[in-house]
C-alpha cells in the first residue's frame, strides 16, 4: 500500500515538474502555434531571478530569508514575461504563420540568452542601455518627420550602425578606465546555488516514506498555476479575447479586438509561466546557463502528446509521462513482473530499460507508438479547421 502511494506520489511529482514547465509552452504553442525553442531559456531566467532575489534577502536575516521564495515567484514571472514580451514584439510578431522560421529564430534567441547570462556584466548592460537610448531615441525623433515612411529603411539601417558604434565605443572607453567591478560577470559561466529556505528542505513523513516539501510545494504551485490559467482563459475578459483570436483571428479583428495586443499578452503570459517553472525547478536542480536545455524536448513531448490547444490534454499527458517514466526508470515495472511466474523475458526487458538513461529511450518509443494510434494527441482538435 505504502509502496503504491509512494510510486504514485513520485510519478506525480515528476509529472508536475514536466507539467509546470510545459504549461507556458502549451499556451504559446497550443494557442498561438508558436514554436518557442527559447522557452527553456525563459525558465532559466526565472531560475536566475530566484537566485538574485535569494541574494537580496540573504542580508535581511531570518524571518525574511525564509520567505524569499514567495517573493521570487512574482519576480521570476515578471522578468520572464518582460523578456517574452520583448521577444514577441521584436521577433516573433514578424513570423506568425511561419512556424519553422519561428523555430529557428527562437533557437537563435536561446543561444543569445545563454551566452548573455554567462557574460553579462555592468559593462555589457551599460552598452546595451546606450544602444537602446540612441536607437529608440533616434527612432522616436525621426518618426515625427513627415517623410518617415520614405526614409524608414535607410533610417533604421543608419541608426542601427550609429548606435551600435556608439555603444561599442562607450564599452571600450569604460573598459579602458578599467573598473574591475564593471567588467566582472554577474553570474559567470558557473552554476549558481539556489538554496531552498529551511521549511522547504526535508519532507513530510507519511506511511513510512517521506514526501519532500520541495516536491509538495511544486505540486501545489502547479495546481495553482493551472487553476489560474484556467480562470484567466475562461472567466476573464482578456481570456475571452485570447480564445476568440485563437479561433478566428480576422473575425476577432473585425469585432474590434486588438489582436496584436492579445498576441503580446498571450506570449507574455506563456513566458511568465516559464519563469515560474524556472523558479520551481531551481528547488530541485542546478541553476546555470544550460538549465533550460534539459527541459525543452521533454516539455514539447508533453504538449504534443496532450494535443495542441488543450490544457486538459497537457495535464493528462504531463502526469502520465511522469508516471510512466518513473515506473520504468525506477525498475518498479520490472519488480511487478518478477513477482509473477512466467514473465522472465518481460522482466529482463524491463530491467534493461530500468536505468535513467534507458528509460528515456523507452518513453520516446512509447510516445512514437502512441502517436501511431492518436496522431493528433490525446485530445485532438476536431472539425474542418483542425488542420495539422
Amino acid at each position: 500500500m505504502s509502496a503504491l502511494i509512494e510510486g504514485l506520489f513520485n510519478g506525480i511529482s515528476i509529472g508536475s515538474v514536466l507539467l509546470i514547465a510545459a504549461l507556458g509552452l502549451a499556451i504559446v504553442f497550443g494557442l498561438m502555434g508558436v514554436i518557442n525553442l527559447a522557452h527553456g531559456e525563459l525558465m532559466m531566467l526565472g531560475a536566475y531571478s530566484t537566485f538574485v532575489v535569494q541574494n537580496v534577502f540573504k542580508p535581511l536575516g531570518e524571518p525574511w530569508f525564509e520567505l524569499y521564495i514567495l517573493f521570487s515567484l512574482p519576480v521570476a514571472f515578471i522578468v520572464s514575461a518582460l523578456v517574452g514580451l520583448a521577444l514577441e514584439r521584436g521577433v516573433i510578431r514578424f513570423l506568425y504563420g511561419r512556424p519553422l522560421e519561428t523555430l529557428l529564430a527562437t533557437w537563435g534567441v536561446s543561444l543569445i540568452l545563454r551566452q548573455f547570462v554567462r557574460s553579462v556584466n555592468w559593462l555589457l548592460v551599460i552598452s546595451i542601455a546606450v544602444f537602446c537610448l540612441f536607437f529608440f531615441g533616434g527612432m522616436t525623433i525621426l518618426k515625427r518627420r513627415s517623410n518617415w515612411e520614405r526614409i524608414r529603411n535607410w533610417a533604421i539601417t543608419i541608426l542601427l550602425v550609429i548606435s551600435s558604434g556608439i555603444a561599442i565605443a562607450v564599452g571600450f572607453l569604460i573598459d579602458r578606465v578599467g573598473q574591475i567591478a564593471l567588467t566582472k560577470p554577474w553570474f559567470s559561466a558557473r552554476n549558481v546555488d539556489v538554496t531552498a529556505p529551511t521549511w522547504l528542505r526535508g519532507g513530510l513523513k507519511v506511511l513510512g516514506f517521506q514526501m519532500p516539501y520541495a516536491r509538495l510545494f511544486i505540486i501545489a504551485l502547479t495546481i495553482i498555476c493551472l487553476l489560474g490559467v484556467y480562470w484567466f482563459l475562461n472567466r476573464s475578459t482578456w481570456g475571452l479575447r485570447i480564445r476568440a483570436v485563437t479561433q478566428n483571428r480576422s473575425m476577432s479583428a473585425c469585432l474590434g479586438i486588438p489582436t496584436a495586443k492579445v498576441d503580446a499578452l498571450t506570449f507574455a503570459l506563456g513566458s511568465g509561466l516559464a519563469g515560474i517553472a524556472g523558479c520551481a525547478v531551481s528547488l530541485l536542480g542546478s541553476v546555470g546557463p544550460n538549465t533550460g536545455q534539459n527541459y525543452i524536448v521533454d516539455t514539447f513531448m508533453v504538449v504534443v502528446v496532450g494535443g495542441v490547444g488543450n490544457l486538459f490534454g497537457t495535464v493528462v499527458a504531463g502526469l502520465s509521462i511522469g508516471i510512466i517514466n518513473y515506473l520504468i526508470g525506477s525498475g518498479t515495472l520490472a519488480l511487478i513482473f518478477t513477482s509473477m511466474e512466467g514473465f522472465k523475458p518481460l522482466v529482463d526487458f524491463f530491467l534493461f530499460f530500468a536505468t535513467s538513461s534507458m528509460a528515456k529511450v523507452m518513453v520516446f518509443a512509447l510516445i512514437i507508438a502512441f502517436l501511431q494510434v492518436k496522431p493528433a494527441g490525446l485530445f485532438p482538435q476536431k472539425g474542418r479547421t483542425a488542420e495539422l
Binding site: V91, W107, G108, F116, V297, M301, P375
Partner: protein, 389 residues
C-alpha cells in the same frame, strides 16, 4: 503542330547548352578544390577544409528535404553519426584475427558483439554507411508521415529522436565505447595509417568527388517531375493528395535519401576528424546544419554548399579569436537570416544584388516580361529579320 515541335527542339537545345555549361563550371570548381587547394593550403588546414566539404554534403541532404520538400529535420545528427560509426567500426576491426578493439577489454567484453561482425568486410561497410542511415531515416519517416504528422511536429519528433539516439550511444559503453567514441586516426586502412598524409589527401579528394556526385544526384532528383512533386508537397500537401499522389511514399523516400546522404557525409567527416563520438548528436549541432542551409538559401542546392562553407569558416575564424562572441554571433545569424534574408544569400543575390551588379556594370537590364516573348521562335525570327534589314 509544326511550330510547337520547333519550340520543343529550340528549348531542348538551349537546355542542353545550359546543362553543358553548368557541368563545365562544376568540374572546374571541383578541379580547383581537388588539385589546387591541396597545394596551396597547409596539411591541417586542408584537413579542416575537407571536413567542411563533408559538412556541405549533409547540407545538401537537408536542403533536399527542407528546401524542396518543406520538412525541417532537427535530427540529421543521427544519420550523420550512423554513417560515421559504420566506417569507424570497420577501421577499428583492422586488427589481427582474433583480437578485439582495445576498448572492449576495458569493459570486460570478450566476444565481439554480433552487429560488429559484418563490419569486417569493406564492401559491406561501404553499403552499410549509406543504407543503415537511409533505413533508419526511412523507418522514422514512415512512422511519422504515415499519420500525417508534419510541420513543426515532425521537427520536434526528429529532435526527440536525436536525443534518444544520443543517450543510447552515450550509455552503451560495452557495445560502442559510449562517450569516448571510436578513434579512427590510429587505425590502418589498406595497410596505411589513417592519419597519414597520403590517406588524408585521398579522403579529401574523395570528399570532393562525392560532393560533386551528390550534387549532381540532387540536381537530377529535383529537376524532373519528382522534384516538381516535392515542391508541390512542400507548398500544398493536401492538394497533392487530391491529385492522386500519396505524399507519404514520396516523403519517406526523400527523407531516406537525405538520411543516406548524411550517412556518407558522416563517414567522410569521421575519417578526416579522426574520431566519432556521440557528441556529434548534440541537439545544437543538428540545428546548426539547418542554419547553414538557411544562410546559403534554401531550395537552391548551390546555396546549401555556400552557406555551409561560409558559416563554418566564419565559425573557425571567430571562435579562434573571440570564443565568447561566437554564440552571440551565431544567435544573431539565426535571427537575421530568418527575418531579413529568408531566401538566404543566394536568394538575395538572385532577387536583388544581381540586378544591382548588372546595373553598375552598365549591362542591359532584363525587361521584366513574360519569358514567352523572349523565347517565342516567331518573335525571334521577326527580330532576326528586322536586324538583317
Amino acid at each position: 503542330m509544326d511550330s510547337e515541335l520547333n519550340i520543343g527542339i529550340y528549348k531542348k537545345k538551349k537546355q542542353q547548352r545550359k546543362q553543358l555549361i553548368e557541368a563545365g563550371i562544376i568540374i572546374a570548381i571541383a578541379l580547383i578544390f581537388a588539385i589546387i587547394l591541396p597545394i596551396v593550403l597547409p596539411a591541417f588546414r586542408l584537413r579542416l577544409f575537407g571536413r567542411f566539404l563533408a559538412l556541405t554534403i549533409v547540407a545538401l541532404g537537408i536542403d533536399l528535404i527542407w528546401g524542396y520538400t518543406g520538412l525541417l529535420s532537427l535530427g540529421h545528427g543521427i544519420f550523420f553519426a550512423l554513417g560515421g560509426y559504420a566506417i569507424a567500426m570497420h577501421l577499428k576491426l583492422q586488427i589481427p584475427e582474433g583480437q578485439l578493439p582495445d576498448f572492449f577489454t576495458l569493459y570486460g567484453v570478450n566476444k565481439l558483439p554480433w552487429f560488429w561482425q559484418p563490419f569486417y568486410s569493406f564492401p559491406f561497410t561501404l553499403v552499410a554507411l549509406v543504407v543503415i542511415p537511409g533505413i533508419v531515416a526511412g523507418l522514422l519517416g514512415y512512422l511519422v508521415f504515415r499519420n500525417r504528422i508534419k510541420g513543426v511536429y515532425f521537427s520536434i519528433l526528429t529532435q526527440a529522436a536525436l536525443l534518444v539516439f544520443f543517450n543510447f550511444f552515450n550509455g552503451q559503453q560495452k557495445l560502442i565505447n559510449g562517450t569516448n567514441g571510436l578513434k579512427t586516426d590510429t587505425e590502418r586502412i589498406f595497410d596505411l595509417l589513417v592519419s597519414s598524409a597520403t590517406v588524408q589527401r585521398t579522403f579529401y579528394i574523395l570528399t570532393v568527388i562525392f560532393l560533386v556526385l551528390i550534387y549532381l544526384f540532387c540536381r537530377w532528383l529535383t529537376s524532373g517531375r519528382f522534384g516538381r512533386l516535392l515542391i508541390a508537397i512542400r507548398d500544398d500537401e493536401t492538394r497533392v493528395r487530391f491529385s492522386g499522389y500519396d505524399p507519404t511514399g514520396f516523403k519517406v523516400l526523400v527523407f531516406a535519401i537525405s538520411g543516406a546522404i548524411a550517412g556518407i557525409a558522416g563517414a567522410l567527416y569521421t575519417v578526416q576528424t579522426g574520431i566519432i563520438t556521440p557528441a556529434i548528436m548534440q541537439v545544437a549541432f543538428s540545428i546548426e546544419m539547418v542554419i547553414w542551409v538557411a544562410v546559403g538559401g534554401r531550395g537552391t542546392l548551390i546555396g546549401a554548399i555556400i552557406g555551409t562553407l561560409l558559416v563554418r569558416l566564419a565559425q573557425t575564424f571567430l571562435s579562434e579569436r573571440f570564443p565568447q562572441v561566437w554564440l552571440f554571433f551565431q544567435g544573431a545569424l539565426f535571427l537575421t537570416v530568418v527575418t531579413v534574408l529568408p531566401n538566404g544569400i543566394v536568394g538575395w543575390f538572385k532577387d536583388y544584388a544581381w540586378q544591382k551588379v548588372q546595373f553598375l556594370l552598365g549591362l542591359r537590364q532584363p525587361l521584366v516580361t513574360y519569358p514567352q516573348i523572349e523565347e517565342d521562335p516567331a518573335i525571334q525570327r521577326e527580330r532576326e529579320q528586322l536586324t538583317r534589314e
